[in-house]
């Protein structure tokens, strides 16, 4: 109860301490001390007129918002008077730095300079996303488009932004099939011994969910929904399938279909445990660490709510394992976890995983609600 209360207070604090001052970012794209005046303000961004010393209109600056992997990001754009992008800067973002540096190194932002507002400015069309940082690339593109809408309005143009369709292809289909397979095996129990079905699911998960798509269920994904910063459903329906497919099944059926079956990092750990000389700690010691996963989950969510930044909770080692992009402490954690998995069966899952803890909480809460409901029905029947 205390944990829930503190999370609620943290969420309230984060919500009431959001920085909404945009004008401080104007100097990122025009010379400092430029005179400006606000022309349009919407929930997606603000358009400013930049004035010269004589008070003549010189250019427009938009500061607009998009959704990255770690939460909202702000893009500042300097537009010429006929709607061509002259300068771009991203003054605020919550993306992980190793990923962000890839965007900078590949000159992703330079692609926007010189583009007119009537050009598509669309990822996979005239803008190339950076492989491995597609959510961040898309977040920047979203913000640029939001800025474009403000310029279109100011110029009185009848340009209409084409509506993006939902992208559902082979990756999304394969993820659905994987979840459906585990659901079928665990719910309808078609096999007397599901051991080989589990190995099959883990192998699929390792290669498809981990190596190929790199979309394991992460606390980062879950918390981005909790703070209302989920990526766009049109571009990234795969995240919705992973998060709501697995959490939804846990809520509906009271079963954890992910841990030990669909988690690619569990596949890695089980593989290592098979190679290494496994040892079993005493039941007493194992019990002693049961609370650790919940404590890590609580702390991660507290930080997410206070800073309103889901990427803070993305400390799990699989992010690095499947992307090979991370900071020094993340490498240390990955190496320590893999070393632990060589000796202890599913070391991360059993003692540290906050995603497993979230699923356990959902299942326990569902059971509690179910029991309360049943006892209420029984009481009513007795009367």
């Amino acid at each position: 109860m205390l944990a829930l209360l503190s999370l609620g207070l943290a969420a309230l604090y984060g919500f009431t301490h959001q920085d909404l001052g945009y004008q401080e970012y104007i100097p990122q794209v025009v010379p400092e001390n430029s005179e400006y005046t606000e022309l349009i303000a919407t929930s997606q961004g603000v358009l400013y007129a930049i004035l010269d010393a004589e008070g003549q209109l010189q250019s427009y600056v938009t500061i607009s918002q998009g959704q990255g992997y770690g939460g909202p990001l702000l893009v500042a754009l300097d537009w010429s008077l006929d709607g061509i992008i002259l300068q771009i800067s991203v003054p605020v973002h919550h993306e992980d730095l190793p990923w962000w540096r890839v965007l900078e190194a590949r000159h992703f932002f330079d692609q926007y300079i010189g583009r007119g507002y009537e050009e598509p400015i669309q990822i996979h069309e005239d803008i190339d996303a950076v492989s491995g940082s597609t959510v961040s690339s898309n977040g920047v593109a979203m913000a640029v488009k939001a800025g474009r809408l403000l310029v279109v309005k100011e110029l009185g143009s009848d340009y209409k932004d084409p509506l993006p369709g939902i992208k559902f292809g082979l990756p999304e289909l394969l993820v659905c099939l994987g979840i459906a397979f585990v659901f079928w095996v665990r719910t309808f129990r078609p096999f007397k011994n599901p051991k080989y079905a589990r190995y099959l699911a883990l192998t699929y998960s390792f290669f498809i969910v981990g190596i190929w798509l790199s979309v394991p269920l992460s606390l980062n994904n879950i918390s981005s929904f909790l703070v209302g910063y989920a990526p766009s459903v049109e571009q990234f329906i795969i995240f919705y399938i992973v998060v709501w497919g697995i959490l939804g099944l846990a809520i509906l059926f009271g079963k954890n279909y992910y841990c030990y079956w669909l988690c690619p990092f569990a596949a890695v750990q089980e593989g290592l445990h098979f190679i290494g000389e496994g040892v079993s700690p005493s039941a007493k010691t194992q019990k002693r660490f049961k609370w650790v996963r919940y404590a890590l989950l609580w702390l991660a969510l507290m930080l997410v709510f206070v800073f309103r930044a889901p990427n803070v909770s993305g400390f799990e080692p699989w992010n690095l394992f499947f992307s090979l992009k991370g900071d020094f402490p993340e490498w240390i954690l990955l190496i320590a976890t893999l070393a632990g998995a060589l000796l202890f069966y599913n070391f991360w899952c059993n003692y540290l995983c906050p995603v497993g803890a979230s699923l356990d909480i959902i299942i326990k809460a569902r059971k509690w609600v179910g029991n309360k409901w049943n006892s209420l029905l029984k009481k009513k029947a007795r009367r």
Partner: protein, 40 residues
């Protein structure tokens, strides 16, 4: 014969405690490094 087995299991328990504590510590470092990038 029982003594070495007991000692071995104690050593395993201690090693697990060290490993979990170390990973918790590094997890906290990772979280706070990420969070510190958000403070103006």
């Amino acid at each position: 014969m029982e003594q070495p087995v007991k000692e071995k299991s104690k050593a395993i328990d201690i090693f697990l405690i060290v490993m979990v504590s170390f990973c918790v510590l590094i997890s906290l470092v990772v979280m706070f490094v990420k969070a510190s990038g958000l403070i103006d």
